[in-house]
């Protein structure tokens, strides 16, 4: 006992005890999961995210009244959402294999976040970033314009994943699990869209002293019900201006009615003169042609570049990020801005699906939320006077033939091996 090391044992014991105590107290019940407000968009909408905490509280309470919490979701019948499915997907993970609940937290939350903001813990490592559902903007879908996707579109994405991104396939989920997750994704979108509408409404009708500015009869009603949150909810539902959120809700319910109408693809069956090689050649011209005396081309070269490899180097952002202001918005939870790169069409990886039909949707409708424009002007009369419009749909089908073939052009398939010789990329 004449060495100082005699202290080691008691010291170790004390440290172990301390660690044990910290562990035990730290491993208690986690606080219930909460949705986060979309502070970045609230700020862009004019709300001061730091100063007006009271307004945020009203907003959060109203959203809770309309949509519940992550553990106990709720949806008004007007939204068209199925609460049983939502409950299956929501909450903490429980249940045995085949009867699991909490599916969203099991499979999706680490990338897409508890509020569906696409900013879960793993999101920052991914490129492209996971989808932020809260705007209701979806890229890969079969509906017109910026309309929401159909259930079948979401199911396709879940089943096949999105090659070329970090989104994997969830094909092995049971049918009812898949349906529940789809419903929950829609729920997060509806909730996010409603949040933006509500905050716009609040910005307009907010009185710093008394809180909400209500019409006299609404104040009466609210007094009667003694429930300010409920009254705001009623107001929102009855409002007929920008605050009317059931426009978004109806859009989701009516997605099936907004399918892109696809005219039949020219083929050998209908037209004996049809030749794939010729169609590819026409498609190639349209791909490279921006303006022409005769008809407007695709002008795809403008972004995808003369090599079709998407390497034009221009700085573009998608709609989720274009308004994000570095530093100040990062502090509110926005992910660092990331340049969106046009696709290299020669790789043979088509994110939204490789069927001719999928490519048609992409060219015809553009990619919602990205700088990829729609191709509805292809075939409209050219700059020369007196030219007539060509069949838009037919021309798009030519472009589809061209881009389907691009990965199989000899120059796409060759890669340089270590010794400098060129080899087929599949044999690398």
């Amino acid at each position: 006992m004449n060495s100082p090391f005699f202290l080691i044992r008691p010291a170790l014991a004390a440290v172990s005890l301390a660690v044990l105590v910290v562990c035990l107290s730290g491993c208690g019940d986690a606080p219930p999961a909460r949705f986060h407000l979309n502070l970045v968009e609230l700020k862009h909408g004019g709300l001061d995210p730091v100063a007006d905490q009271r307004q945020q509280q009203v907003l959060a309470n109203t959203l809770t009244a309309l949509f519940g919490t992550p553990d106990d979701p709720y949806a008004l019948p007007e939204t068209g959402l199925n609460i049983d499915k939502l409950k299956r997907a929501a909450g903490p993970v429980t249940g045995a294999e085949g009867a699991k609940t909490g599916l969203y937290r099991l499979h999706c939350v680490h990338c897409h976040g508890i509020s569906g903001d696409g900013a879960g813990p793993t999101a920052q490592f991914l490129n492209p970033y996971p989808r932020d559902y809260r705007h209701g903007w979806y890229k890969f879908k079969s509906t017109e314009g910026a309309f929401p996707p159909t259930d079948a579109d979401l199911k396709k994405t879940l089943t096949l994943g999105i090659p070329g991104t970090a989104m994997p396939s969830f094909r092995l989920l049971d049918e009812d699990e898949m349906d529940a997750v789809i419903e929950y994704v829609k729920y997060l979108s509806l909730r996010g869209e409603t949040e933006l509408r509500l905050s716009a409404y609040l910005n307009e009708n907010w009185e710093p002293e008394s809180g909400e500015k209500l019409k006299p009869e609404q104040i009466e009603a609210a007094k009667k019900k003694n429930d300010a949150i409920f009254s705001l909810r009623e107001t929102i539902l009855a409002a007929d201006d920008s605050a009317k959120c059931d426009k978004d809700w109806n859009d989701w319910k009516n997605a099936e009615k907004k399918l892109i109408k696809v005219l039949p693809k020219p083929s050998k069956d209908q037209d004996p003169d049809f030749e794939l090689a010729k169609s590819i050649e026409i498609g190639r011209k349209l791909f490279y042609q921006t303006q022409s005396p005769k008809v407007a081309g695709g002008g795809c070269i403008a972004c995808h570049g003369p090599s079709a490899m998407g390497d034009d180097g221009a700085v573009r952002y998608d709609k989720w990020q274009e308004n994000v202001k570095p530093a100040e918005d990062y502090a509110l939870g926005a992910l660092p801005k990331r340049v969106i790169v046009p696709r290299n069409i020669r790789t043979g990886i088509f994110r939204g699906g490789r069927r001719p039909l999928d490519l048609y949707y992409r060219v015809y409708n553009g990619i919602n939320g990205t700088p990829m424009p729609d191709g509805k002007a292809i075939g409209s009369p050219g700059i020369a006077a007196g030219e007539k419009a060509a069949d838009n749909s037919k021309l798009i089908w030519h472009i589809v033939d061209y881009i389907s073939n691009l990965p199989f052009e000899p120059e796409s398939e060759l890669s340089t091996a270590k010794d400098g010789s060129t080899v087929h990329r599949d044999n690398l």
């Binding site: 090659p163 994997p168 094909r171 048609y360 990965p407 199989f408 599949d426």
Partner: protein
């Protein structure tokens, strides 16, 4: 303490053997072999298990017996005789394991060659192997079947993900690739496990013999989602397999959304 230590050491072979018997009874033993190539691999496994098992039980038993018999408190002294080196003994304990190892090395050679070196002959016209390209990526399995031209890498290829359909009783030749990091293509019921290395194309082959669904898992820690990098091997009759390829072909060449009544699941 008495004979405590000797009993403790006896527990090692007893519990060791018991755990194997229990695993067998509870069916947490090897996954069922559904392949033509698995029998030889299982045979090697059982052969080595028997060999090492017997040696294990004998040495553990001998150790127990000496500890029990010559416990210091019993006062019995072992009839020890200290020797400084025994040429014969050393030769024996070198030759016996060396010969055993050499025997195993030669004995397994054919199985190894069959499973890792003798690639199925693509030019075999009687029974051509079914060639499928498998690409592993974080965290899913992507499959590519040759189209009507029977060549992988052309415009008519068929693509699918996480569900690997194969015909029964045919030699399946997998061309294994990785898109990002190391993965391992593991089909427990086919007795197949092969690392997928980025930048390389590894051939893997097996012959399924039983129609049904089996697991396909990743057996190499490949990132945070490794645990859910699961797929399914679907072994089906040649007719069903052809039907599957047909529906995949139809799906993939779609130029119109099928009418609501004809909507089918994505193949």
């Amino acid at each position: 303490m008495g004979k405590f230590w000797s009993l403790l050491f006896l527990a090692v072979p007893v519990l060791g053997v018991a755990s194997f018997v229990w695993g067998w009874q509870e069916k947490i033993w090897l996954p069922e072999d559904h392949s033509a190539n698995g029998g030889a691999i299982d045979h090697l496994f059982y052969f080595i298990l028997a060999l090492t098992g017997v040696v294990f039980v004998i040495t553990e038993g001998a150790m127990f017996w000496f500890m029990w018999r010559y416990d210091s408190r019993s006062g019995k002294r072992p009839p020890t005789k200290f020797v400084h080196g025994s040429h014969t003994l050393e030769v024996v304990w070198t030759i016996v394991p060396a010969a055993t190892l050499l025997f195993i090395a030669i004995y397994q050679m054919n199985v190894w060659a069959d499973n890792k070196m003798r690639r199925p002959d693509m030019a075999n016209m009687q029974d051509p192997p079914v060639e499928i390209e498998v690409t592993a990526r974080q965290f899913e399995w992507r499959f590519r079947y040759p189209g009507p031209d029977k060549i992988i890498g052309t415009a008519d290829d068929l693509f699918t993900v996480n569900e690997l359909h194969v015909p029964v009783n045919r030699k399946i030749l997998i061309q294994l690739k990785s898109q990002d990091v190391l993965h391992s293509f593991f089909l427990p019921n086919m007795r197949v496990k092969q690392d997928a290395v980025p930048g390389m194309k590894q051939p893997v082959w097996f012959t399924p013999t039983q129609i049904g669904k089996d697991d396909l898992v990743c057996a190499e820690l490949c990132g945070w989602g490794h645990y859910k990098m699961k797929g399914r091997l679907i072994v089906e009759s040649q007719a069903d397999y052809d039907k599957f390829l047909q529906s995949l072909q139809e799906y993939q060449s779609a130029t119109q959304e099928p009418a609501a009544a004809q909507k089918k699941d994505i193949p």
